[in-house]
Subunit: 312 residues, 2 copies
């Protein structure tokens, strides 16, 4: 049995490779919900949906998020009412948020709704939100006027295009959030625990902040293998550099290794970073070199095979 800690686009692409090389039913994905937010009265879970849509083969291939062939008529029409429409919810995607919100308002847990949604998409791996309680990633960012303001993750990332310099990151609600049913148990019994190539700060960070998760990873460190999302000193996608740097994490595979060393025995780094393997090893994390730039599903499958072999 395999468990994967996952953020959004990078994780989803990796998972699509993973299910080529292992039985999808043997995979449990623990998804980040720190990016979840409410738009127009609807609960949106960007990372859970990106994983779902990608594993269903329905994602927008250019953007990596949202649905292929999507239209944006509803969100455009919301502008008439003065609504903030910088978060571009597609019309078909809206169906997911409408369904989830109605169920959650009816008292159904996020993990139960997530199961229903993945079943509707015929996604075979089990996708667990890290917690059924709300955890909200908050970013203290320095704005144009020099003042530091707290914004929600999507505000900083989408509305502000990751531009305001980051001062601090917090996972509101994490301390009192219980892991969702199956999270700790699956980690405890996994043959291998994978840390997908996701943003260490705001994708993996919130999962680690859920009480109990980090402790079980530390205890099972020899079964944990990560994939560095940083290649040649820059993230493949997303704003990881804008977060790692200001928080004192070197923007490199070495920085990732230092961040993960206490709970991760092995780190897959990109072939382009082979020269830094000894530095990773020097931190007590075994470096495995592979092609980590997932141009297509074949590369993703090979990468998954490398990661699994590393702790076999």
């Amino acid at each position: 049995m395999l468990v994967a800690l996952a953020g959004g686009v990078g994780a989803a692409r990796f998972l699509r490779g993973l299910v080529q090389v292992v039985a999808p039913e043997d995979v449990t994905v623990i998804g980040n919900t720190g990016d979840d937010d409410w738009f127009h009265g609807l609960l949106v879970c960007p990372d859970l949906d990106t994983v779902t849509y990608t594993l269903a083969g329905a994602e927008n291939p250019e953007m990596g998020w949202g649905l292929a062939g999507e239209t944006f008529h509803a969100v455009d029409a919301l502008e008439r009412y003065g609504a903030e429409t910088w978060f571009r919810l597609g019309d078909r995607d809206l169906a997911t948020h409408l369904y989830r919100t109605e169920r959650v308002r009816a008292g159904v847990s996020l993990s139960q709704v997530t199961r229903e949604i993945t079943e509707a998409w015929k996604v075979r791996p089990r996708l667990l939100p890290m917690s059924d309680s709300p955890v909200s990633t908050r970013i203290d960012a320095r704005e144009d006027d020099g003042r530091v303001r707290e914004v929600r993750m999507q505000e900083w990332f989408v509305r502000d295009r990751s531009e305001p310099p980051v001062v601090a990151v917090r996972f509101e609600g994490a301390e009192t959030a219980a892991p969702s049913p199956g999270v700790l148990d699956s980690l405890e019994h996994a043959d291998t625990i994978l840390i997908c190539p996701s943003n260490p700060v705001i994708s993996i960070g919130p999962i680690l902040a859920v009480p109990g998760v980090r402790a079980v990873l530390e205890r099972r460190r020899d079964r944990v293998v990560g994939v560095s999302p940083i290649v040649a000193g820059a993230p493949i996608k997303g704003p990881a550099d804008r977060l790692m740097g200001p928080l004192g994490i070197e923007v490199s595979c070495v920085g990732v290794a230092r961040e993960y060393r206490e709970f991760c025995s092995t780190l897959v780094i990109d072939a382009g970073d082979a020269a830094r393997a000894s530095e990773v090893d020097g931190l007590g994390v075994r470096a495995v070199v592979a092609d980590t730039v997932m141009r297509d599903a074949r590369v993703a499958a090979a990468l998954a095979r490398h990661a699994l072999a590393a702790v076999a």
Copy 2:
């Protein structure tokens, strides 16, 4: 100052004519909310929206409801989740329901949200929901198995295509619903009160069921003029015949006159029903003959002019 009691499509077409012949700012429309219902967690107000979209010139001209050039991607996508999608919410139309629902959930009254929506559409007449409290039209209908079941108006009308024979109609919540701010006051001070060519049972009926409305109409009977929605023994549009007949109301302009006689001094009937004018007169309701089939805005304007002249 004019006040109009309005249902959906027929009323909206009449009102579009009315605002050609009087200053739109002088018109207050009291809209039926008995058809309101919740779909996918969203509050939908079909009659208020039909009036709004039509007065904005944005309605779908073939259907009379919904928006022109509409798409249905979200509602189609909801089918994946097993949702009931017989109520066809368009993508652009969804924006209205999202906005309204978020505001209402935030504690804003339906009349306030309705004002915001009509302002966003630059609709100049004032549109008041009959009440800010929920009133829900319930229909006891005999189903295929012979049993009588209570269904909500949209279930009977849209889902069941008005087919199950009607046994009884009720306006749940009406007895305790207060008229929304401005309803009684505008009726009290109106120069003319118009009853739009709407379904007497389920469009005008719920408005009359709101405490206080019928009494003020009765008191001001000489200022009240109705337009018969029934022409040559059949409704121009909608299921009025399926409701009037079983409830003992003759499906004709005479039946409408009998229904309205206590609070309506004048009824505009169609030229095709001219032969029945004396029967209407015989009920104590003055019959005025005009072309009531609103093929276009010009006919609608002429009809409005006739109606206004009738009580001038």
